[in-house]
């Protein structure tokens, strides 16, 4: 199959029925693998990794903090992409997937913020500091809240999909602006995002590296969170599709179809 044909085949899943049937088939795989990865990663990290020489046992928090933070951002990115797809191609499933993802993003952001605060208490001596990265996540959290609130407030589902999609686009631009503004406003005391740099993995950069001992369980946790996110999005999108159909059927019953 050519790439174009594959891309075309992908759009077929935009049909709600097809989406429901397919997601039903693949969901068990994602539930099980995500559960397995998160269990393995967390158990490995919690029981079988040494303490950090500087941070002591609090280093174990990164197995939750880092994957949650990554997913908090990636979830917004996914919502941005699906919103664009909805605005351009008018596939209902896409808009509903964005709606389904938002509460997951809220929970991920909350985990990242809470574990960060719990970690910051012994490390920085304070629960909360207006560090740029923490502040950015707090702002992201507000964006999520506004997005979900707008979905809930609007009666007509298509209007809601349109308006939230535009909000997601505009919000993304302002979220990036806020990130720069916050960086400018306070230089911060947060560690760099050391996991994502190749140098950190190879250990070439000794300053802020996450050493291999911590890296592999962390990687498994990240994979687990990604799989859990996919499973939740698929499942919740199915729920939204059904909710939407119930609404449509009820509307039709009212007009006396």
């Amino acid at each position: 199959m050519s790439i174009a044909a594959k891309a075309n085949a992908l759009w077929e899943y935009a049909n709600p029925r097809k989406f429901l049937a397919t997601s039903e088939r693949v969901l068990p795989f994602f539930w099980i693998t995500s559960l397995a990865c998160i269990c393995v990663g967390l158990i490995w990290g919690f029981f079988f990794t040494p303490d950090d020489y500087k941070q002591g046992s609090t280093v174990k928090i990164i197995y939750l903090h880092v994957p949650a933070a990554l997913m908090a951002i990636n979830c917004w990115l996914m919502m941005l992409v699906t919103s664009l797809v909805w605005l351009v191609r008018r596939h209902h499933v896409s808009a509903l997937a964005a709606r389904a993802a938002a509460p997951i993003g809220i929970v991920m952001t909350m985990i990242a913020l809470l574990t960060g605060a719990i970690w910051g208490q012994p490390m920085w001596g304070t629960w909360w500091a207006w560090d740029p990265r923490l502040t950015s996540f707090l702002i992201l959290f507000l964006f999520y809240l506004g997005y979900v609130a707008l979905w809930e407030a609007i009666e007509d589902p298509d209007t809601a999909a349109d308006l939230t999609s535009v909000l997601c686009l505009v919000g993304s631009v302002f979220a990036i602006l806020s990130r720069y503004a916050v960086n400018f406003w306070n230089q911060g005391l947060h560690q760099g995002a050391s996991v994502m740099r190749a140098a950190a993995v190879t250990g070439a950069d000794t300053e802020e590296k996450v050493s291999n001992v911590f890296f592999y369980p962390l990687l498994i946790c990240i994979i687990g969170f990604v799989l859990l996110f996919i499973a939740l999005v698929l499942y919740r999108t199915g729920t939204e599709i059904r909710a939407r159909r119930i609404k449509a059927l009820m509307a039709r019953e009212r007009v006396g179809g």
Binding site: T58, L114, I246, R252
Partner: protein, 52 residues
């Protein structure tokens, strides 16, 4: 079995508790709502196909 977490035991354990708790709540809420929607949809589909 629990490894020695030293003086940071509270921090580590509460982090894990909070995170796992939130994840469980999210999954449970999703599943409960999903089940309900599935039921409701079947109900209304049956009702409507009976009534035409």
């Amino acid at each position: 079995m629990i490894p020695d977490l030293g003086k940071y035991a509270d921090s580590v354990l509460s982090s894990y508790a909070v995170s796992v708790g939130l994840l469980v709540v999210l999954v449970a809420y999703s599943v409960i709502r999903g089940r309900k929607m599935r039921r409701d949809m079947e109900k209304i589909e049956q009702r409507m196909s009976r009534n035409g």
